[in-house]
């Protein structure tokens, strides 16, 4: 289990992550939008709308239909012309985390490392977004059902997320595309946390559509170190999502596996980055969860230039 940057363990020995320590370690982190968001409820992100906030930007001649209260009367007195005072609008960015709860996330079987890290990232990123006054929601794709927590800004939403992920055991091979569609309908920023071993092309197509629609998509690829470097002893490995796949992992097969898995990861990273997704890899135990959160939330785009 990876340690936090201050040395504490984010997960207790029972396997249940210590969310309090995680939330404490990410306090103060901001997560600005990568591009101007749509206007709406005032928030922390730069909006595409021009409004009447205190942050002045420019004047515009009065046009019929403008609100008379927005005319700068002092300028009208000096120039005898009516101007409207414009300013950059600030808006919220509803954020929804889509969490893959398929059986492949319950790996390794003993430590449930992938699921634990995914749950910590989901809660941590939600907390960071919540700190920016953004509504945060959660969609968990689970076999037979889809657990949805609509984006909210109330204080208890993080606690509800913690309870939702703690009471859940990954199983089955549910489709992630439907969870993504639900999240796209609800939010402008979607965080997709998965090992991407499910439906590949369909999910990428859905993500591409969301990006075109102006959504900000973050993809976190969860990988277990046992998947990168499987045990050297001969095993008859089986896919938990496809029990029919039972293959002998011998010495020769191991080399071919390493090559194929590496190529697949490179292909995933390339395709998702090309689609305009902020793609990151999270290897269990390789990097502290709070560090991963800082990496994901680092300012990019207009936020980086602001």
């Amino acid at each position: 289990m990876a340690r936090l940057r201050d040395g504490r363990e984010p997960a207790a020995r029972s396997g249940v992550p210590d969310y309090a320590a995680l939330l404490d370690s990410i306090r103060g982190i901001r997560w600005p939008a990568r591009s101007a968001v749509r206007g709406g409820i005032p928030g922390a992100h730069t909006s595409r709308m021009r409004g009447s906030s205190a942050e002045f930007t420019e004047y515009r001649p009065y046009r019929q239909g403008d609100d008379l209260r927005r005319i700068d009367w002092k300028l009208f007195a000096r120039s005898d012309r009516a101007y409207i005072r414009l300013s950059n609008d600030r808006a919220i960015l509803p954020t929804t985390v889509v969490l893959d709860a398929s059986a492949s996330m319950a790996f390794p079987v003993e430590s449930q490392g992938k699921w634990s890290l995914a749950a910590q990232l989901a809660v941590g990123l939600s907390a960071v977004a919540r700190n920016s006054a953004d509504p945060v929601g959660l969609v968990i794709s689970r076999e037979g059902e889809m657990i949805q927590l609509p984006p909210r800004t109330r204080q208890s939403v993080i606690y509800e997320m913690v309870r939702a992920v703690s009471d859940l055991t990954p199983r089955g091979s549910p489709p992630l595309t439907s969870a993504l569609d639900a999240a796209v309908r609800m939010s402008g920023r979607i965080v997709l946390i998965s090992d991407f071993l499910g439906e590949g092309d369909d999910l990428l197509a859905g993500v591409s559509r969301a990006v075109v629609a102006g959504k900000e998509i973050h993809a976190l690829h969860i990988i277990a170190p046992e998947e990168i470097d499987p045990p050297r002893e001969t095993l008859l490995v089986s896919d938990p999502e496809a029990p029919d796949i039972r293959r002998p992992l011998t010495g020769d097969a191991r080399d071919a596996y390493l090559t194929a898995f590496s190529q697949w990861r490179e292909q995933i990273a390339h395709d998702w980055s090309e689609a305009g997704v902020s793609y990151s890899t999270a290897i269990v135990g390789d990097e502290a969860p709070d560090h991963l959160i800082r990496r994901v939330t680092a300012p990019r785009g207009i936020a980086a230039t602001a």
């Binding site: 059986a103 996330m105 071993l197 490995v237 896919d239 992992l249 898995f261």
Partner: protein, 398 residues
Amino acid sequence: MTFLAPAFFYASLAVAAAVIALHFIVTRQPRAGILPTARFVPDLPATATARATRPSDIPLMLLRALIILAAGAGLAKPIIKPSRGAQARVILADVSRSVMDSAAVRDSVRALYRNHDAIVEFDSSSRLVSADSIASLRFSRARGNLSAALISALRAGSSLRDRADSLELVIVSPFAAEEFDAATDSVRKLWNGKARIVRAGAREPSGDSSAREKPAISWPTSSSRPPGAIPLEARDTIGGVLAGDALLVASFERRWTYPEDSIRGAEVIARWVDGEPAAIERESGNTCTRSIAVPITSVGDLVIRNDYKRFVRAVSGDCVATTATIHAGTDKVAGLAGPARLAPREAFRPRSDVHSGLAPWLLGIAIVAAIAELFVRRRRSIAATESRLDSRPARRAA
């Protein structure tokens, strides 16, 4: 415990070892594990196996080994208390006239004898005697015959084959030249093993040839009859006479004959061609006297013929007591030793079959174990199937 047919048991040992080795080197399915990225493993046959470092199934392995060993031991016919030893001897004791020191022969036989051995005494004939008779071996004046003794040894070997795995032939004799005949070598080869040569009872060779006894020969004359012979009531004519290897073919008028009283204690040294004695020899102190009943006529060329000369040399040779002590040549005696190995018991004709009482029981155990092996294997197969079925929902749940 020993086996009547140990080859079966050795074969079963080899097969059992192979079965145990198979349990060690048998391949089995590797340990199952979960790997979400199993789809990236090459799609090889899932029956690929891993080498086991310990026996795969010890009870089943032991059961299979028991089947094989019990069957092999049953076919090998084990005998808990063997009725035969490893080795037995057939001792040929020479009691003929060639023996000058009978005590030496007795001592040699007594030293060589062990339980289950057979003793055959021989002179011109041979007899199987008991161990109690060693002290009372009766030495005779008859000429020894090794061929007859060897025939009796073969018969004794057949009776000993059930008591020993290997048989040794021991010949205790002075090995006089006269004891060998033309059949000796052939009969000796019938004993398919080595013979121990024990020279005993021979007279020490003397270097002074003049010390040998010379016989006193009484040739018949027209006025006197040969000593010990009586005139025939009806004279007849016969066509030849034989002395040793010398055959004299001529027409003789047979005038005398030797009554049984005369022959008793004497040695016939020449016979007419119809078998009647023609000359006898009788001991007389350190020498011997010979009575020859072959009339020699002065008419004709008989006395100048070569066969007549050979006949005369034959009947005028050394006394029998002297020829009986002439040692056979070293090559002849060495030829009796034969090959270096002992004769196996299989070389002798069996007199009866030996049955093993344990064989049916062991074969029964093998059958019962074979049936049990079927049940054990079936139970293991069912258990494996059930565990496989149980593991599927568990994997789904995981």
